[in-house]
């Protein structure tokens, strides 16, 4: 199987879906000739023209609102939001309009829209270009949320998202655009709500999302050298969430750490930990640990920024604590 970058994978997914369905179009800032600042969309405007790869003014609420209306009337927009941080600008159109239209209309109106944006710190971009805000979106009923962790997921989840008749938000890890992974040349889709067991283990479960899947895999390698067998699971979508696979693993290993790059408080890690507590409590040998980004705005200085995000070493250290039983005494 060939290796391609995450960026190429997204590009391929969009091109394939646009060839398959004429109602699919891309809209956002600098998506056409510029191909976005990350060059993810390079070449698409040459194939599909400016009618379907639409450069907008810098007006996020405007083009998001336009996309909601387009989706309600028979088109399938893929909205390009240059940075995940800009999601605060479009909250009304995303959460009050797109998310609720199908429900408020009693099932009569659909909003088949994809919002593709990104997450991830440590790019030295400071507090307004580095946030991981997927928990905000996942909190709102009516929105699906996908978090690809490699080029393979980025392609398969994007294709599924475009074919979905609901609003879907995809957060790509902006540090991973140039990372290569094996991606089949033949067409494939990844269904939503199916977690991927990246690595089997029996002592402890590490649940990682997006950028944190690699962190968990590296932590598992460290732990293996110490004789600790870690299972690594990537939920791939957090709405819908494959609770069954997560609970089964928790019951099997009896110890769980949930790692996500969103802020730790009121975030994805707390939600997943809560569900494991509710459904696997009597199988646990230790409290479920949450590891998110530090509850501070993302700082600019590398000396500070790097300590705000979970690292493989920190995950491994917490895993050792859980294995030793120390966390129980701490509680």
């Amino acid at each position: 199987m060939r290796n391609i970058t995450l960026s190429q994978a997204v590009n391929e997914a969009l091109a394939e879906e646009m060839r398959r369905d004429e109602s699919v179009f891309i809209i956002g800032e600098d998506v056409a000739e510029a191909g976005t600042p990350f060059k993810v969309l390079s070449g698409l405007v040459e194939e599909f023209g400016t009618e379907r790869v639409v450069d907008t003014p810098i007006a996020e609420p405007g083009f998001m609102g336009l996309a909601v209306g387009a989706a309600m009337t028979g088109a399938r927009p893929v909205v390009d939001l240059m940075f995940g941080d800009f999601i605060f600008l479009i909250m009304d159109q995303l959460c009050n309009q797109a998310a609720k239209t199908h429900y408020m209309s009693g099932g009569k109106l659909n909003v088949p829209l994809v919002l593709r944006t990104n997450l991830g710190a440590t790019r030295r971009s400071a507090a307004q270009h580095s946030q991981s805000l997927h928990a905000l979106v996942a909190h709102i009923p009516g929105l699906k949320v996908a978090l690809p962790s490699s080029a393979y997921e980025a392609k398969g989840l994007m294709k599924t998202a475009i074919r979905d008749n609901n609003p879907v938000v995809i957060f790509e890890d902006k540090l991973m655009y140039n990372d290569k992974a094996p991606v089949p040349e033949d067409e494939f889709l990844i269904p939503f709500g199916e977690a991927n067991i990246k690595r089997e283990g029996h002592d402890i479960t590490l649940i990682g999302t997006s950028s944190m899947v690699q962190v968990c895999e590296k932590a598992a390698e460290i732990l293996e050298q110490e004789g600790i067998s870690a299972e690594v699971i990537d939920p791939r979508t957090i709405v819908p969430l494959d609770e069954k696979t997560l609970i089964e693993s928790a019951k099997k290993t009896s110890r769980v750490i949930v790692v996500d790059e969103g802020h730790q408080s009121f975030g994805i890690t707390g939600e997943i930990a809560g569900r494991i507590n509710e459904k696997a409590f009597y199988h646990l040998d230790a409290p479920v640990l949450r590891m998110g980004a530090m509850d501070v705005p993302v700082p600019f200085s590398p000396a500070l920024e790097d300590i705000t995000v979970p690292t493989p070493e920190a995950v491994a250290a917490n895993a050792r604590l859980l294995m030793s039983g120390e966390m129980i005494h701490a509680a």
Binding site: G65, L66, G69, Y103
Partner: protein
């Protein structure tokens, strides 16, 4: 005068009376505590919705506002499903999940009322975008009030609509009040000049004159279909009731004399009725018979809706997603 025109005029009259009658009944449902929540009366503004919607086809799209019953009726909705929706009943247009402020009727091209002031401006613009993208000649009309002209979204989407020549008409119903505040206290300069700044043709028109509204709308809609849009219309109108049905004592923001003047001297239905009689299109008796028939229809629809059943509790987690029957199952 041709028969076709006469039919068109009588249908316009009928639709205006249907809106007024619907609102009178909705107000009574509120006052008698039979309706959950609040509602916002369209009474007084009928010529705006009817003048515009009578120039549209079923496949043309509209977006509506919190004061949306008029648009819904004018675009072709039935009383029964509308009253059922207002009362939260299963047979309502949205199965009782939307209510007065979210009533939508996709079968007639009504993409829904919106409880966020200005919230549907992107949606209407997007409907026009789809029309152009898919090579159709459908037009979208965005209804909104003077209050919504203070929202930034409007300027963002008007900019894009003008850049891309989208078939959309921005219809600003200027009823003089942004909730409980006079419009001249919230709107600097001219509202039409704001649209003109984007190179858009903008018109200000008497919103109490249904024929004038309809004539202008027909002209602009035809031009939109030929790719000459977008356009902006400011329709000068008045709401007879308060901001919502519970806004009874409103002398602190507008006088009773002003309300009386609009009702007695500029009412769109009275004016149009006089014209129909003067032109010999309908007799007083025919008009009274039409009014009575509409009253009976509305009463029957209210009775039906009051007796209709509420949605089953199992519907609470339905329609969250299109592909999952029960989101929480």
């Amino acid at each position: 005068m041709t028969n076709t025109n006469a039919e068109d005029y009588l249908r316009m009259y009928r639709q205006m009376v249907r809106i007024r009658t619907f609102e009178d009944n909705a107000n009574q449902l509120y006052l008698s505590a039979k309706m959950p929540g609040l509602t916002h009366m369209y009474s007084g503004e009928e010529a705006v919705a009817v003048g515009i919607c009578e120039a549209l086809r079923t496949t043309d799209k509209i977006t509506s506002t919190h004061r949306g019953h008029g648009h819904c009726v004018a675009k072709g909705a039935d009383f029964k499903e509308m009253f059922c929706e207002l009362l939260g009943k299963e047979e309502g247009y949205c199965r009782g999940k939307g209510g007065s402020m979210h009533i939508a009727d996709q079968s007639n091209g009504n993409l829904g009322a919106n409880a966020i002031v200005g919230g549907s401006m992107g949606i209407a613009t997007g409907a026009a975008f789809t029309s152009k993208l898919l090579g159709k000649d459908d037009v979208a009309v965005c209804f909104f009030g003077d209050g919504a002209t203070a929202q930034g979204l409007m300027y963002e989407v008007m900019n894009m609509a003008a850049l891309w020549k989208l078939p959309v008409i921005y219809a600003c119903e200027n009823n003089g009040y942004s909730e409980y505040t006079r419009t001249d206290e919230i709107a600097a300069g001219s509202i039409t000049a704001r649209a003109e700044a984007f190179g858009m043709e903008a018109f200000q028109i008497d919103g109490q004159d249904v024929l004038a509204v309809n004539e202008l709308s027909q002209r602009l809609i035809a031009r939109c279909r030929k790719g000459e849009g977008p356009f902006f219309i400011e329709l000068m109108t008045y709401r007879y009731h308060g901001h919502h049905v519970g806004d009874i004592n409103r002398e602190y923001y507008r006088s009773k004399a002003e309300e009386k003047d609009w009702r007695e001297n500029r009412d769109p239905i009275t004016r149009f009725r006089s014209w129909l009689v003067e032109e010999g299109i309908a007799s007083e008796e025919e008009i009274e018979a039409m009014n009575a028939e509409i009253k009976t229809d509305a009463a029957a629809a209210v009775e039906y809706a009051l007796a209709a059943k509420y949605p089953d509790a199992s519907e609470v987690d339905m329609h969250v997603f299109t592909d999952v029957e029960h989101a929480l199952a």
